[in-house]
Symmetry: C2
Subunit: 124 residues, 2 copies
């Protein structure tokens, strides 16, 4: 079941996306399952259908969902999901890694980081 939190600063469509993604990853929803129609889900959550549409569209772009005009939205195959999501994350990380290289970071340091690097998080 999807639950929205209006005190959360994150946009609605993002909350919907995360809810659905979690349900798909955890097996609450399985490949091939039909998702609620944009209007049905919008009505159920008392929000605009376009907001659901946006969530579905982005999930499709990420490979989690397959949309078919006139029929509905369906959960994509698991492998497809992972592949697409990986590409997305890696695309974001690549430029940062380039700069880290330029700053002299070594492959060894990076390997350590992948494990569970203990650093002070100096986020602004």
């Amino acid at each position: 079941m999807i639950h929205l939190d209006y005190r959360d600063s994150r946009p609605i469509y993002q909350q919907v996306k995360d809810n659905l993604r979690r349900m798909m990853v955890t097996g609450v929803l399985n490949a091939g399952d039909k998702l609620p129609s944009v209007r049905a889900l919008a009505s159920q959550l008392s929000i605009n259908p376009n907001t659901i549409q946006r969530a579905y569209a982005e999930l499709e772009a990420e490979g989690y969902v397959v949309s078919v005009t006139g029929k509905g939205n369906f959960v994509a195959e698991g492998d497809t999901q992972n592949q697409a999501r990986r590409q997305e994350l890696l695309a974001k990380m690549r430029p940062m890694m380039e700069e880290l290289k330029a700053l002299g970071m070594t492959a060894e340091e990076f390997a350590v980081l992948w494990e569970g690097g203990k650093d002070d998080a100096a986020s602004k």
Copy 2:
């Protein structure tokens, strides 16, 4: 010399930051050098002193600059610069790496990525 481009969508303070950082990294400015005062630089670029102040403040937070009230802003030591910039980048990357782990990405795959991974960039 700092040059601003008002057709650029990036904010002024960001352009100032990048200009200064580049000058420091390329050796046009060296550790210990005194930077122009916030008012002087603002006047020279015909912008508000607060904008320069913000640029300097963020560069200081990133370890590139040291500010001393009443005296001025100075270029920090090179090592400090790198350390701070690394921390910043790693802080951004960490959550992404966490998700990649959850998606089943292995240390080996990641090591390859560090080298020069050949992928299609599926940026939306």
